[in-house]
């Protein structure tokens, strides 16, 4: 094995490892969910980052490295596809479209995904340790209000867009109508110019006769 790693990769792995283990430590579900995955290795090759990320479970911790020599399950995909997969549960379709390639035991990947989905962190309790109960309550209250307003705004925008698509779009001028209108304007322009020339000629005739 050669030096197919860089310090930047190590920095990314190190940060990821810290965030994941901190999140697991804070989760109300604890780290018991990791037990079935003890010593299992999931390797994820994301097109966007260009190097493998290896997740290995050991003693209730997840180690992140860029080693890809051995794995129980290897996934080749992109961040975009992972987002689509989470939203629409279209595993088979994405595999058919060559956007997702899974080698090895798919259950390992599913178990890792389940752990990520079931993370349950009581952010308010954690925040209260640093800033106290009352400011945390106020922050929480403010956060909830903000979330409600954003949610309302989002729903409203969605409803308006739907309405526009269903009703308003029918009233919008089509391309052919615009083209026909442009043609009419051009014809009118020609007629106006002809009339203008005739008026000019008549004016000249009248002024010559008056002389």
């Amino acid at each position: 094995m050669e030096y197919n790693t860089t310090l930047h990769q190590q920095l990314i792995c190190s940060i990821l490892e810290k965030i994941i283990n901190k999140a697991l430590a804070l989760s109300l579900n604890g780290t018991q969910s990791l037990n079935p995955l003890e010593q299992k290795i999931l390797v994820v090759n994301l097109a966007e980052i260009g190097f493998p990320l290896s997740f290995m479970v050991n003693n209730g911790l997840i180690m992140v490295t860029s080693l890809s020599d051995i794995s129980d399950c290897t996934i080749h995909t992109s961040i975009k596809t992972l987002v689509a997969l989470k939203k629409q549960q279209q595993l088979t379709e994405l595999i058919k479209q060559n956007k997702l390639d899974i080698v090895g035991d798919i259950k390992i990947a599913q178990q890792f995904a389940q752990i990520a989905e079931t993370l349950n962190i009581d952010w308010q309790s954690e925040l209260a340790k640093y800033i106290g109960d009352i400011p945390t309550y106020k922050f929480g209250h403010l956060g909830k209000k903000l979330a409600q307003k954003l949610n309302f705004a989002f729903t409203q925008i969605q409803a308006d867009s739907t309405e526009w698509l269903v009703h308003e779009k029918r009233l919008v001028v089509t391309k052919s109508q615009v083209a026909a209108f442009n043609l009419q304007v051009s014809e009118l322009e020609v007629l106006t110019e002809t009339l203008s020339e005739r008026i000019h000629a008549l004016k000249s005739t009248i002024s010559n006769r008056l002389k």
């Binding site: 094995m1 050669e2 030096y3 790693t5 860089t6 310090l7 990769q9 190590q10 920095l11 792995c13 190190s14 010593q39 290995m56 050991n58 003693n59 911790l61 180690m63 490295t65 860029s66 080693l67 020599d69 051995i70």
Partner: protein, 266 residues
């Protein structure tokens, strides 16, 4: 050539000429071989308690990335037997312990009992006990049978060894065929500008930092001097090859401030 480079060259020449007299260098000083071990031991007994804090301060935390790089380059696998030589406070051992798993084994070896004690306490506090053993050992005379380890690492330790060639031969002996040695060590910066900035930092700031935090400026003066006295990238590669290692390569990290050498035993 800078004055420090000239000093270094003179000192290496002196050491080479005096090899018959059993002399070696301790920083920029030329000392008797039998003295170096106790002098180095004195340095590490003194800094052991503050070693991790000082490493973070001195390298701005980058030593963690250098060590992670070493681990990834080792290609270690579950079930492997690893020797973390001059392992000190156990940074590499901690990661190796997790990667080799229950069926593997990691031996943290250091010649210095104070460093070994700090390492043992730190790893036990982190709950890492199942597959780690601690051995006080001299790298020149490793107390292990031939062909024992899949991976041997020595991070920031080789420059403190009295007879580096003998140590490399000893490591070769205990490595299994197919096994690899990884030497992570300070080296010679690739660019003149980095070299000058690094010299200024090492000789002006580092000892003061040591004085302030570890209350021991002299030990950090020795650190700076010992780095300058350590063989450069190509020389160390040749030394590894002379000890028997094959497919020996090195990779400069952070502009050559540190280099990772890797060699195989076949």
């Amino acid at each position: 050539m800078s004055l420090q480079d000239q000093d270094r060259k003179d000192s290496i020449n002196n050491t080479t000429n005096n090899n018959a007299d059993n002399n070696t260098h301790f920083g920029y000083q030329t000392v008797d071989k039998s003295e170096k071990e106790s002098k180095v031991a004195g340095v590490f007994h003194s800094v052991a308690a503050q070693y991790d804090v000082m490493n973070d301060l001195m390298s701005f935390g980058i030593h963690r990335l250098w060590k992670r790089f070493t681990i990834d380059a080792s290609g270690v696998r579950p079930g492997n037997k690893v020797l973390d030589l001059a392992g000190g406070t156990g940074d590499l051992t901690a990661k190796f312990s997790q990667l080799v798993g229950k069926n593997g084994q990691v031996i943290l070896a250091d010649i210095n009992s104070s460093m070994l004690n700090v390492g043992r306490d730190k790893l036990r506090d982190r709950g890492l006990v199942q597959n780690i053993e601690y051995v006080q050992a001299n790298a020149q005379h490793l107390p292990f049978e031939d062909n024992t380890f899949d991976v041997i690492t020595i991070a920031f330790g080789l420059r403190n060894v009295t007879d580096k060639d003998e140590a490399l031969r000893s490591m070769y002996r205990v490595l299994k065929p197919g096994g690899r040695l990884l030497v992570l060590e300070f080296s010679k910066p690739e660019q003149e500008l980095i070299s000058k900035a690094y010299d200024f930092y090492s000789f002006n700031i580092l000892p003061k930092m040591g004085e302030l935090v570890a209350k021991d400026g002299d030990s950090y003066q020795y650190l700076a001097e010992s780095i300058r006295m350590h063989p450069d990238q190509e020389t160390l590669k040749e030394m590894m090859e002379a000890a028997g290692f094959e497919q020996t390569t090195y990779k400069n990290l952070t502009g050559g401030v540190v280099a990772l050498h890797k060699g195989y035993k076949f």
